[in-house]
Symmetry: C2
Subunit: 151 residues, 2 copies
DNA sequence: CATCAATTATTGATAGGTCAATGATATAAC
DNA sequence: GTTATATCATTGACCTATCAATAATTGATG
């Protein structure tokens, strides 16, 4: 683990470290956690959306989504409601004035991500994304095969 | 934020998603969280080490380190002690039999990381690491400049 | 040597995530 | 139509990370 795959191990560790730093600075820049911003991002792109769909888009547990939305609702940022045809599903929608504020705020802070990926050519960016996706595929494949005979 | 830098945004989101999956599967594979394994990894490489040094190596808060070490100590995996010349610093050391077990276990499971990065040529690996490091540099640079005039 | 500052580890409060269990509604099967 | 099954949102219990405050020890400075 130390010699033969040291580059791989380093990648693994660096990935974690970078991600943590990134999230932390993202949070202080945007004034909200990445999860929260991700949720708001999707809400910006959909006039209204069922909570279950939102939950699938965002990368967190349903329980966590519920708690985020409750807070956002309490803050007046979003509205939640049910429709006549299905009393289970909850629909989520951005409050109008909140929507404006968020749009402005994002425009102003969108550069954070740009700077994070400064000095990358467009070509490099594509390749980077490609690699990340490859790792993602590998990871999802690992689950089903490898962990069969364990413990 | 949606059009001009959509690739960047995608990279950002994917990075998070991948990292989360990676950690989750890593954890079920190794039977311990990435933080825990990282700690043990460093302990494998140092016969004994001051807790403060360990904390700097590993990517987590001092408080979290304390709690991990307490658990590891309670489980008999590590030993902690002070030295005569400095009653503040706590030294940490792997228990001998635990050390053997961990070494075996790692050998067996080291392939997890390999499979995660399967289908990467050595060249690609290097480039990937290079890119991650570049992002890391960018992120650390952002802090000092950008967040000056905020809020 | 007495005080002030720095280092080290710890604790408490808080935030945000997971999983498992629950309740309420909707759909299917018979 | 009634019973079983699925979907959806929520809650409670738990875990792990953060930050801020604290305590204990050491080093430095007057």
């Amino acid at each position: 683990m130390d010699d033969s795959c040291s580059v791989r191990l380093q990648i693994f560790l660096q990935l974690q470290a970078v991600n943590k730093d990134l999230c932390s600075k993202f949070e202080t820049c945007f004034g909200a956690s990445t999860s929260r911003v991700e949720i708001l991002h999707y809400l910006l792109q959909h006039e209204e959306i069922p909570q279950s769909a939102l939950q699938k888009e965002v990368n967190i547990d349903a329980a966590a989504v519920t708690r985020h939305l409750k807070q956002l609702e309490a803050a007046g940022t979003i509205v939640r409601y049910k429709k006549a045809d299905d009393q289970r599903a909850t629909w989520v929608k951005l409050d109008d004035t909140a929507k404006r504020h968020i749009k402005e705020s994002y425009q102003e802070k969108g550069q954070f991500i740009e700077e994070t990926l400064a000095d990358f050519s467009e070509e490099e960016l594509k390749q980077f994304l490609y690699m990340i996706n490859k790792v993602s595929d590998n990871v999802s494949r690992v689950t089903k095969q490898d962990l069969g005979g364990e413990k």
